[in-house]
């Protein structure tokens, strides 16, 4: 539209620039396991089933949802650790979903991943120097001044003592190990880092150190993050935009503050209502929407809206004909308010879920017309 700088809604990426990463209708199906004695191959596990989103340079997209909804699989497909079953992944405008290993190699350095578990993701028999230096060797890169110097520089940057170059992972605490993983991911100066639950295993105080480090590195190097987590408080803190996943699909995606202050999908409502807030006065007036039952199996997802079997709105608020619609027709993820996409036939803004008081509905777009 105009060239005015985007307002505080930094969440709305400047529409003029092309996204760094563009994921369109990506699927990842795993072969079904044969069941029981009458060994017949089961239905495929639709771990990720038609996911679309974009990430701009320097932006953080949060990815949340229950265990097993497909967050890690999405992250691994995006970092090309596994091949998608269908759909397109464009990186800097170029479709990389079909690229061969060879053709992928120069791009690999641009996208890195940090793993959840700081204990199992580092080889216990390698020194920190070897671990952090591996990406240089794989890529056949000779950094100026040698690998050792580069690695020690990285260690320093993430707050590790460079003298500990020859130490082994078990000699470090959880937070320090997570820093080792971060240093390794940074080695090749990537543009995008997929962070899969990078702070979930850490103590709050150490968690705060790592979150701050990720933010500093982002502003220093213009990094973009896909930040996977099940802690919705951390995600609110670090993300510009947030996508909520359920059973392999995105239920809702919008800028951070809209997602938390005026969420529209019944699943997001339930998730937010379930997060306890460290303030007893607020806690005592909040409504808690309990979801019943378990996540359905991703190899036989429900018909129509995949959430309808657990949807509180479906159960208690809709008429018979509306329910029929939920059971038979798949919603599509579409824009229901500016910049706010929702997968639901009957979306509704709620503003009372976090502090227990209906607040003014925030508008998502720039305030100046």
């Amino acid at each position: 539209m105009t060239t005015t700088a985007p307002s505080s809604a930094a969440a709305q990426p400047a529409t003029s620039s092309a996204p760094l990463l563009e994921v369109t209708d990506v699927q990842k199906w795993f072969p079904g396991r044969s069941k029981g004695l009458l060994s017949r191959t089961g239905n495929p596990v639709k771990a990720v089933d038609g996911v679309s989103f974009t990430v701009h340079e320097g932006e953080t997209l949060g990815l949340v949802g229950e265990s097993g909804c497909g967050k890690s699989t999405t992250g691994r497909v995006v970092s090309k650790l596994i091949e998608p079953t269908g759909g397109a992944i464009r990186f800097q405008g170029r479709d990389i979903s079909g690229l061969s290993r060879r053709a992928m190699r120069p791009l690999r350095r641009e996208v890195q991943m940090i793993f959840q578990d700081p204990y199992s993701s580092l080889n216990p028999r390698q020194t920190i120097g070897t671990i952090v230096g591996t990406p240089f060797r794989i890529q056949g890169q000779k950094p100026e001044g040698g690998v050792k110097k580069a690695v020690q520089g990285l260690m320093e940057r993430v707050g590790l003592n460079p003298e500990h170059y020859n130490r082994y992972p078990h000699e470090f605490s959880g937070g320090q190990r997570q820093r080792i993983g971060i240093a390794r991911a940074l080695a090749l100066r990537p543009k995008l880092i997929v962070c899969d639950e990078p702070v979930s295993a850490l103590d709050v105080s150490v968690q705060a150190q790592v979150v701050n480090l990720l933010e500093d590195l982002q502003s220093e190097f213009g990094l973009a993050y896909v930040f996977i987590a099940h802690d919705l408080s951390v995600v609110r803190h670090i993300s510009d935009r947030v996508a909520v996943m359920y059973l392999g699909k995105i239920m809702e995606i919008t800028d951070r503050d809209s997602l938390y202050e005026s969420p529209m999908h019944p699943y997001t409502h339930a998730l937010l209502s379930a997060v306890p807030i460290p303030d007893p006065a607020v806690e005592s007036r909040r409504e808690r929407i309990l979801l019943t039952g378990d996540l359905p199996s991703p190899s036989s997802p429900p018909s129509g809206c995949v959430f309808h079997t657990r949807c509180p709105k479906y159960r208690t608020e809709l008429s018979d004909s509306q329910r029929e619609h939920c059971r038979t027709t798949q919603p599509v993820l579409e824009e229901k308010r500016p910049g706010h996409q929702v997968y639901c036939h009957f979306p509704q803004v709620r503003t009372d879920l976090i502090d227990g008081q209906p607040g003014p509905v925030r508008t998502t777009g720039p305030k100046t017309a």
């Binding site: 705060a208 701050n212 807030i277 303030d279």
Partner: protein, 354 residues
């Protein structure tokens, strides 16, 4: 609909505590020296009360729980002080007596569900067995009761999952099965050690609901160990904040969140992102690392990381161990800064950044 919100805050409980821990010390002799994991801990839990224990990793929360259950008996651990449970001192009890206590009065939910489920037996049978040890009922009745309990903790199709072995359950389901096993015996004291840390928020909400139900139905006493202050705010009546094996602050949940007075508690609250706040600034981690439990800092255990020790005259923070002293009758704090000054710091320096 503008009627006043129902007040869900429970009236303060009076009455005798069901569990009283007095000056508890648990020290482990190791090759490197004596590890003082718990060093003079005092707190109590009344029937119907949920007491939260919070503190960073390694502060002695699990070791405290293990001591209450008598799990250090027969090990090299040196346990002293008193653990009064319904009038008797568990520190002095024999292993045999403890076994009985563990079955009849006290149940525990462990952080790691696999450690307490046997891999070869069905989940249902293990729970039914636990039930029958303490209740004279037929196998059939025990099965019915078990299925009810599994349903209650949110296992779908509980009767058909009864015969599954633990590995056929997902991690979250195992955790719920273990909670069913702890609750089925209707314990008078339930100790839950990080019962929901591995679970996602929706399941966590269900489990916390169950624990509150147990408390409401049976007037059980509950100790909830967690590092999630949100969980504490939602569930607990009283809070014990632990640091370096000691209690540094304790009090009713509202006072603790509204008027925290110990610098470590300030640090804890400040380092946590809040979902109910529009993001303003960076998180504020507590500088430094946890204290050595072998060479415990002289004076206040928190002094190497405390930003306020220069407010205390005569370097007292580095020489004198502060006592846990009441700030209000219900609220106790271990810090040399005088109460009035602490409240001033809270108001002018801490609150604005929380």
């Amino acid at each position: 609909m503008s009627t006043a919100q129902p007040v869900t805050v429970r009236p303060p409980l009076s009455g005798e505590p069901f569990l009283s821990v007095e000056d508890l010390k648990v020290h482990f002799p190791t090759d490197d020296g004596l590890v003082k994991s718990v060093d003079g801990l005092t707190f109590s839990v009344r029937p119907g009360e949920i007491v939260g224990i919070v503190g960073e990793s390694g502060s002695g929360k699990s070791v405290t729980a293990q001591a209450i259950l008598g799990l250090h008996k027969g090990s090299r651990a040196q346990v002293s002080g008193h653990i009064w449970l319904g009038g008797r001192d568990l520190v002095a009890a024999t292993e045999n007596e403890m076994r009985q206590v563990r079955g009849d009065d006290v149940a525990m939910i462990f952080q790691d569900p696999l450690s307490s489920l046997h891999p070869f037996y069905s989940v249902g049978d293990q729970i039914a067995e636990a039930y029958r040890v303490h209740n004279k009922v037929s196998a059939k009745d025990a099965r019915t009761r078990t299925v009810e309990m599994l349903e209650k903790v949110g296992i779908p199709n509980a009767s058909s999952r009864y015969d599954d072995s633990p590995h056929q359950f997902s991690g979250g389901m195992r955790q719920r099965a273990m909670i069913a096993m702890a609750l089925i015996c209707k314990p008078r004291l339930l100790i839950a050690d990080e019962p929901t840390t591995a679970l996602d928020v929706t399941v966590q909400a269900q489990i916390l609901e169950l624990i509150k139900e147990l408390r409401d139905e049976l007037d059980s006493a509950v100790i909830l160990i967690t590092h999630d202050l949100g969980v504490v705010a939602e569930t607990c009546d009283q809070v014990v904040v632990m640091y370096g094996g000691q209690c540094v602050e304790k009090g009713p949940v509202d006072q603790l969140f509204d008027q925290p007075e110990m610098p470590y508690t300030w640090g804890l609250l400040g380092s946590m992102p809040r979902m109910d706040r529009v993001r303003a600034t960076r998180l504020l981690p507590i500088a430094g690392s946890p204290p050595s439990l072998i060479n415990v800092p002289k004076g206040c255990v928190f002094n190497p990381r405390c930003r306020y020790s220069d407010r205390v005259e005569g370097r007292k923070c580095f020489t004198v161990h502060p006592a846990l002293e009441p700030s209000t009758p219900e609220h106790e704090v271990r810090c040399h800064i005088p109460p009035a000054e602490r409240q001033q710091i809270l108001l002018t320096e801490i609150r604005p950044n929380l």
